[in-house]
Symmetry: C2
Subunit: 601 residues, 2 copies
């Protein structure tokens, strides 16, 4: 432990300026305070970079310029991350020492007095940009990691993004309304975190996976335009881009048709991106139906920063004599092609790699057609005529130098495999404009998906999603064909949001619950209050929720959600700094009426 | 259940205007949508009040003015809380039918077309102002209760208050930073809500009682100005004015001395009150030390909307021959007086009531002195001379017509009893200006209080509070005399906030933990990461947290916290609408590695 004498402990040295405000103060005596971020000792002169949250300033300790002797000696003892307060005269730097890389690069402070406010041990890693440090160490010492400029920039960006969303929504007459954190477990969806009740032993609150039901009830209550930047919880096994608690911008409106809502949301994003990043988004944003997104890109969240859509080549397949093509079509499957620009000269080894890639996704192989300078060469040229190959090049709009990859099989498998291959090629071939923000609405999702494990249909979004009116008659007998009034916003291949118009009539909601396999009793028990609410004058309503952690990650140009959250958890949902979770005391458990099934630790 | 034919189900009738925007549209054809809030059938004419979230508008169905016959018939079927959309021509009302009480009282809509969007059952209570309904029913049907204008006003006010705080803080370079909800149990303070971990059986997260430690770590991390509108949790037995989850405005700053911080907070409140209520607060706000607040008002959160301070009358007591006065002083107690203006004529019965009131607080009785028109009369005139009584009137600054109440005994008991009596009299005599906002800082709190149950000192605020420098030498041997650099903001007798400067050196924090009875091991185990953090260059810092639920309640002029929260819990921490908490499934418990101690339900 570092001891420090009382004389060093001057509470609250009052700075006169933040560093970023110094640019206009040349010639004045100022007082600044912050952290030592670098120190260079040239003997008669000592330079120190002082950091506060607004920037960095060069301090000069120089006897010849009037720094008192005892301050020179004190400067000699300063080390990185010491907290100091400094009084001095702000001067222009000599021309040859100007540092154009930082905002204060043309000024420096000639020190008259320095106060040591607090000492610092040598930190476990450097407090600077782009360090290569094990993330476990960064998370354990998060308070030091958060000192680094890139983390400060990201949290500042996060704040600005949140503020801009609120500004836009407040201007558009939305009310932010808080909904409970201690609420009720609901089925359908991820696993809940639950909280034992002390007053009702054996009963539990659930932390919300989203404020879905509350926001719908606020529509019943006539608020018409609601939003909330809400903390939500899911007790799922964590992937790299998941956190047990996450933040979403939750929105619900009444009397607003889908088109109007999506238009308003587009304007909101345009406002936020212009205000925070100075980026002008092109409106309206693109839209694709779910069916088209799957057909063209093999994904319900395609990255449209590059094109490379699939082209189905049924005619070509039928004209060929290739057995697997015919078999695929006979079995109701598809034959589809991807054009890989400029890759006609791919080697056997490179092509094998691509084939291996799709095999991992369940395809049996890839047919390849390369339009080389000496002509069109193909792995299946025994089964097609040169004319057929030429017509194929026309069909898929390939140019000389391009490589065409063809896959056949069950539709779902082929689409997913070719979609993944498309993404891999986009990245490998640097087809992606990393600076672009490519927004896309995917609409008309299926209302249900079939859960093999449960042996029944489950709601693709959630059980409150309004079916498309024209598909309503299919609800009982062909649920797989019912489309939802649902829309996702996709940014650069990431699903940013999920939204839908909601059911607002009791009888339709009851049909929906039946379609999901709820008995009347179960529906009544779980959602009785909601069914009741629908009978007291519920307006047509719908909404959307945006994942803000991911949005901030994309806006910050980062790759990890954890870098966009001040105090994130690891993939095993632990907090390495505070060491949470941690054992409860026997008294706590007794008070809550619960016990542990096995003795631990 | 209400059945409705498909024809009634026109999705999303697109309104052209909110009601509040209609004032400029006389003569135009408009479409509005909302809820039927009142219907008067005069035979040939039907009037309906239509409500949306912005106001109420009178609809006129009148054949003679051109309402089609089938619309007249439809109007006949409409009932309260039906959702409708209406097209018509906006006209000025006849002079004699103008309603000056509502904003749209001079206009009405002559209906051309009405769409029935959704029906409604008869609600269990009227959707209007100031209803007298059992709160249990209001909470069960919260979605209807929230439709009432006063609830809508309060939630709108809440939103405006939150927005105004954010505006001010954003303008002053604060960053809003979110801290975790799934965190670690900390000792000292209220009971935690805990959340079992699925991945680490036997371990638990705690929901935060406040972001205290995180915000201090953000200061270590150099953010300097942090805020968060944060949800916090306390599993305590609930009083009328407590909720298991509550919202606080949490603030922390570095390098900012107490005076600067309090000044900034005062300006923040002035900004919010001016912006939201149009009320100009007088700055600077009053300040009292804790010692003075207790001495003058017998409370650490005095209501200063009226004066009536205690005046100690030791000289008078010594000069009297009244045994209890002498005994009180001999035992180190006090004799103190309250002047009750204009109550010299109180009857014996009225005086008995006051005496009974203070007896409930542990006093043996009250001496009374009434300055009536015929002279000064006292319950103790056998023990004092008329001259002494006259001098007493001078000491306590009583006027003719006033009643003086005198109590003697142990200081703590007397102060509390007389403080409570002061409040009661203030209310009973209508001395309180109900429209006033009387802010007060109470400063220099004791650092510790003695917990009789635990048999040791506990932190009055929390264990991170900085002692006053001049009292530091008392920390080990006279902790009861150490004052804290702590400050509470009081509004109209309610504690709005609690704040302090924090300890920022490891050795002082360790002394503090020792004074609180922590062993080195315990301190290390619970707060090791914080003690470590203090060694890496921690700036001087301090902060404050404001209870926003209560603030909104006071600004809305309400008496119940529950009326200021969209979905509150009852005093037994239940949600009557959703029926939470509720039993977990056996699978949920097994997954979490916990079991119930007793079988329930």
């Amino acid at each position: 432990m570092i001891s420090s004498s009382p004389v060093e402990r001057t509470d609250f040295p009052q700075r006169t300026h933040f560093i970023e405000d110094l640019l206009e103060t040349v010639g004045q005596t100022v007082k600044v305070a912050g952290w030592v971020s670098r120190r260079r000792d040239l003997g008669s002169v000592i330079f120190i970079d002082l950091r506060d949250r607004t920037g960095t300033l060069q301090l000069v300790f120089n006897r010849d310029l009037g720094t008192p002797e005892e301050m020179m000696q004190l400067a000699d003892t300063l080390r990185n991350e010491f907290v100091i307060a400094v009084t001095g005269c702000l001067v222009e730097r000599d021309k040859q020492t100007i540092n154009p890389k930082i905002a204060t690069g043309h000024i420096e402070l000639v020190v008259k007095e320095v106060q040591l406010v607090n000492r610092a041990k040598n930190p476990p890693f450097y407090i600077q940009e782009g360090i290569e440090v094990d993330e476990q160490v960064r998370l354990k010492y998060r308070y030091l990691d958060l000192r680094r400029p890139e983390m400060q920039r990201t949290l500042r960006l996060r704040h600005q993004v949140f503020s801009a969303f609120r500004e836009f929504l407040n201007q558009h007459d939305f009310l932010e309304i808080e909904t409970p954190m201690l609420t009720r477990s609901t089925p359908e969806g991820a696993r809940d975190y639950i909280v034992p009740s002390r007053l009702q032993h054996g009963e539990f609150y659930a932390l919300p996976q989203s404020p879905q039901i509350f926001k719908q009830l606020l529509m019943v209550a006539g608020y018409e335009r609601y939003y909330q930047i809400a903390r939500c919880f899911r007790d799922e096994d964590l992937r790299a881009d998941r956190q047990p608690e996450f933040t979403q911008l939750d929105i619900e409106t009444s009397f607003l048709p889908t088109d109007d809502l999506l238009k308003m949301m587009e304007e909101m994003f345009a406002y936020v991106f212009a205000k925070v990043l100075g980026v002008n988004l092109t409106l309206p944003m693109k839209r694709l139906t779910y069916a088209d997104a799957m057909r063209l890109y093999g994904s319900d969240k395609p990255d449209l920063r590059f094109s490379m859509a699939m082209v189905d080549v049924e005619t070509f397949a039928r004209e060929s004599s290739l057995e697997p093509f015919h078999k695929a079509l006979e079995n109701g499957g598809i034959v589809t092609a991807l054009v890989v620009p400029g890759c006609a000269a791919y080697s056997r080894k490179q092509l094998d790699e691509l084939t291996q890639f799709v095999k991992d996704y369940g395809l049996s192989g890839l047919a390849t057609v390369a339009w080389q300078s000496e002509g069109i060469k193909s792995s299946i040229q025994k089964f097609v005529t040169p004319e057929q190959l030429t017509r194929l090049m026309d069909t898929v709009q390939a140019k000389q130098g391009d490589l065409v990859l063809i896959a056949a099989g069950k539709e779902k498998t082929v689409r997913q495999a070719m979609g993944a291959l498309r993404l891999k090629l986009g990245r490998d071939l640097s087809l992606i404009d990393e600076g672009a923000y490519c927004f896309l609405w995917v609409v008309d999702f299926p209302l249900f998906s079939y859960d093999e494990e449960l042996g029944r249909y489950v709601a693709e979004h959630h059980p409150f999603t309004m079916p498309k009116r024209e598909d309503l008659h299919l609800l009982e007998n062909h649920p797989e064909h019912v489309r939802a009034q649902a829309y996702d916003l996709v940014l650069n291949g990431y699903e940013l949001s999920s939204g839908s118009m909601r059911i607002y009539q009791r009888d339709l909601q009851e049909r929906m619950f039946r379609a999901l396999g709820f008995s009347e009793d179960e529906a009544r028990k779980q959602f009785g209050f909601l069914l009741d609410a629908f009978e007291y004058g519920t307006p047509p309503h719908g909404g959307i929720a945006f994942g803000l952690d991911r949005l901030v990650m994309l806006m910050a140009g980062g790759k990890s959600l954890r870098d966009c959250i001040a105090f994130p958890k690891t993939a095993s949902a632990t907090d390495l700094m505070m060491d949470a979770p941690s054992p409860a005391t026997p008294e706590q458990l007794a008070t809550l009426g619960i016990s542990l099934r096995t003795t631990v630790k």
